[in-house]
Amino acid sequence: MRTTTFSLLLASLAAACASAGARPAQQAAPAPAAAQAVAPKAAAETTSVDRPQYPSTYRRHANPPVLIRNATIMTATGQEIAGGSILLRDGRIVAVGTSVQAPADAVVVDGTGKYVTPGLIDAHSHLGVYAAPGTDAESDGNEATRPVTAEVWAEHSFWPQDPQIPLAIAGGITTIQALPGSANLIGGRSAILKLIPARTVQEMKFPGAHYGMKMACGENPKRVYGNRGGPQTRMGNMAGYRAAYIGAEEYRRRWDKWNANHTGDPPSRDLKNESLAEVLRGNIFVQNHCYRADEMAQMLDLGREFGFKIRAFHHGVEAYKIADLLAAAGTGAAVWADWWGFKEEAMDGIPENAALLQQAGVRLNIHSDSPSGIQRLNQEAAKAMYAGIRGGIPVTRDQALRWITFNPAWALGLDSIIGTLEPGKMADVVVWSADPFSVYAKALQVYNDGWLVYDRNDPTHQPRTDFELGQVPAPGSDR
């Protein structure tokens, strides 16, 4: 029963994902029928707005059922089950507990001494858009030609052969949000991706996920545009966001009117306003790079002015100073464990930031923003948890685990689908060699939608990108 409901939900979201931004993404009617509707009718009768917009072609990889038995299962729902088992089948978690029976056709994994967690989720990555080996040829993250480029989509830059992808998979990551950079006030749409080996980004696109809209406060837009026509100041930044959303309001009104009665010629399409109108409709989530507390407060007011909610402040190194304001606004935070000092707006970073946000009831996640940090989000969460505990803030292990699983899932609007180990959820699962909050723990197995995408002890489950072949030594070749 649970499974049925779940698949319906996926179908309706997938349809939503495929619709154009000129029209609201969330269609009221769920339905397999909606999926049919996006197929072009007679080409002459339709325009680009009516056709699929870069839909996901993600397909679950067929796999036998897997039972991981006798492990410590950290569910991210408040439970840590010693001697527990978890059964995965057809891409779903079927059962979690101490007495789960293995079906006859199941692959049984001995989890003795091991720990099992949900797949880790990085809500802030530039994998694929700033790919290794880091040359200008692959610098595809910032369309730094105008301060507002809401029209660009990160997925159109994303390179699935980025050799950083397998490294992140080996760190237990199963889902990422790949974002445009922070040069621009409004930098474009993010891509929500299953982190799996693939030839095309479409094969990685998380079905039904809400796009994010990258926005950036503070120093970066000022620095990039200060001598190129502005904005040159923080007040210039604010004026820039407001002008953009005023334009989007008008656009939305025109399209909503036309969508209601379809009389006369449709309004002309404008990609920038199409994306921003979806922010105003609540279908695209604002993911806002913003360091300073006072600027976050300004951005909350911006959201109030235009009637949208900022989903999360990313890099909020000063979020702890306004944890109460964030909690009241229902806006999340995506933070590092301990980055600070690389620029002036990062000077007030403290290791207790995450714990203080937790204490205030903010939905926070630990993000990487780094191809290196993404490989050890568990360690970053551990640092932040213990820094809080040392400071007298009672952070639990389950809360810290949620910082890298359930909470980033919420930031992406996917918390009903991924982020915990519960029956019915997608089988994104990591088996760890030890307590994942230990510096010595390593991901041994990573299941993505039930597919064993990484096995530290099995070279046939250690995916390598095309880039690596013949030029990057294979793992283990040094031993």
Binding site: A132, P133, G134, T135, P163, Q164, L167, E219, Y320, K321, I322, A323, D324, D338, W339, W340, G341, F342, K343, E344, M347, D348, G349, I350, P351, E352, L356, A360, P371, S372, Q375, R376, Q379, A382, K383, M385, Y386, R390, G391, G392, I393, F437, S438, V439, Y440, A441, K442, E468, Q471, V472, P473, P475, D478, R479
Partner: protein, 402 residues
């Protein structure tokens, strides 16, 4: 005040002591007098006037040494006015010693030392020959009080970055450096002619050539940044040709030529969590430090992010996960860097006669659960406070207390 503190006698008692120079000692005492360690052992006589620190159930190690970074030379990465590590305008800046650029009041210093890193390199960068690095203790009101050794090494960049100032070719790097080294020796032989301008111009100024002489006499180590195997081999070749005392830093593909590095007796400085492939080193990987150590290479571990030099502990823990033994990793953040930088007579282990840089931990220094309980630098217990602890105190309940 300082004299009083230095004269203080401190006995750290009952802890599990990791001298690094020898096996660990259970229920042992570390005695500190006059800024030095005067005794380490299980049957140390504790003077009556000693301040006792009960370390029962705790771990006691030498202060950690980060052999990388720009401690004191950078405050805010993106603010040029606070950066002192690069001498602009000269590809060969051998005479440039960073020492006077160090800011003893830098906020990074307390942030770092309260996590157990007591000594750090302050290195120049940005050029083919960037200048002279110094080693500093992370305590002191003046530069003089902080300096452990100056200079501690000359920096040269044999990575992809170095060739920018060498005709944009790796072959140009060798060409330029050989010319420079020969010119320095020529300058030494013919100083008088040089000052009378009775020589062809040399490839660097007199001050820079003069500064290279200790390197060419094997007195001052050359830290060569080299990552690709071919660049590491170039560094080894140059060292053979000019009889240099070489240290390789970065060494991202060092694992692939570990036997050659070991045979040359050259130590390396590596960052364990460095594994993002670039064309400078496509073979970079987590196992690097472990493979090098197994091959018998002397390894110092690094945290190259100066602001987070405190994460040297995490680097070391990950080096253990990827092949170093725990003992090797502890040595690689204490005694090995002290040896590499030529200060092992004073630093890097808990032994009588050594400078009292000592840390008391609640447990394994590399684990996240572990708390730093006491930090001694030159025998002075430093307060576990920083600008960050002050911010935390201010904001731990909202609204803040101004």
């Amino acid at each position: 005040m300082i004299a009083f503190l230095l004269a203080q006698t401190i006995a750290i008692t009952g802890g599990t002591v990791y001298p690094v120079s020898g096996p660990k000692l259970e229920h042992a005492t570390v005695l500190i007098q006059g800024g030095k360690i005067t005794a380490v052992g299980t049957s140390v006589t504790i003077p009556a006037d000693a301040t006792r620190i009960d370390a029962t159930g705790k771990w006691v190690t030498p202060g950690l040494i980060d052999g990388a970074g720009q401690m004191g030379l950078v405050e805010i990465g993106a603010v040029p006015g606070t950066r002192e590590a690069s001498y602009q305008g000269e590809a060969i800046a051998a005479a440039f010693n960073v020492g006077e650029g160090i800011n003893p009041a830098s906020t990074l210093i307390p942030v770092t030392r309260i996590q157990g890193v007591t000594t750090a390199l302050a290195a120049p960068g940005g050029h083919l020959v960037s200048g002279q690095a110094v080693l500093i203790d992370l305590d002191g009101a003046t530069i003089e009080q902080m300096i452990v050794k100056s200079p501690v090494a000359m920096l040269a960049d044999l990575s992809e970055n170095g060739k920018d100032e060498a005709g944009n070719s790796r072959a140009g790097v060798g060409l330029k450096l050989r010319q420079l080294f020969r010119d320095a020796l020529e300058y030494e032989r013919r100083k008088t002619d040089f000052s009378r301008a009775q020589m062809q111009p040399l490839s660097a100024s007199a001050a820079n050539l003069e500064a290279l002489l200790p390197v060419l006499h094997g007195q001052l180590p050359l830290i060569a940044i080299a990552n690709r195997t071919s660049d590491i081999r170039t560094a080894l070749r140059l060292a053979r040709e000019f009889k240099l005392k070489l240290i390789i830093a970065g060494a991202q593909e060092g694992w692939a030529v570990a036997a050659e590095i070991a045979a040359a007796g050259v130590p390396v400085l590596v960052e364990p969590l460095d594994n993002i492939p670039s064309f400078d080193a496509l073979g970079v990987r987590y196992e690097n430090a472990g493979v090098l150590a197994k091959a018998g290479v002397k390894v110092g571990l690094l945290e190259t992010d100066t602001h987070n030099a405190r994460n040297l502990r995490q680097q070391a823990g990950n080096a253990v996960s990827y092949g170093m033994s725990w003992d090797q990793a502890l040595r690689a953040v204490t005694l090995s860097p002290a040896e590499i930088f030529g200060v092992a007579d004073r630093y890097g282990s808990l032994e009588a006669g050594k400078v009292a840089d000592v840390v008391v931990w609640s447990g394994d220094p590399f684990e996240f659960t572990t708390t730093v309980e006491h930090v001694f630098i030159r025998g002075r217990e430093v307060p576990l406070r920083s600008r960050q602890t002050e911010l935390f105190e201010r904001y731990k309940t909202l609204p803040p207390k101004y």
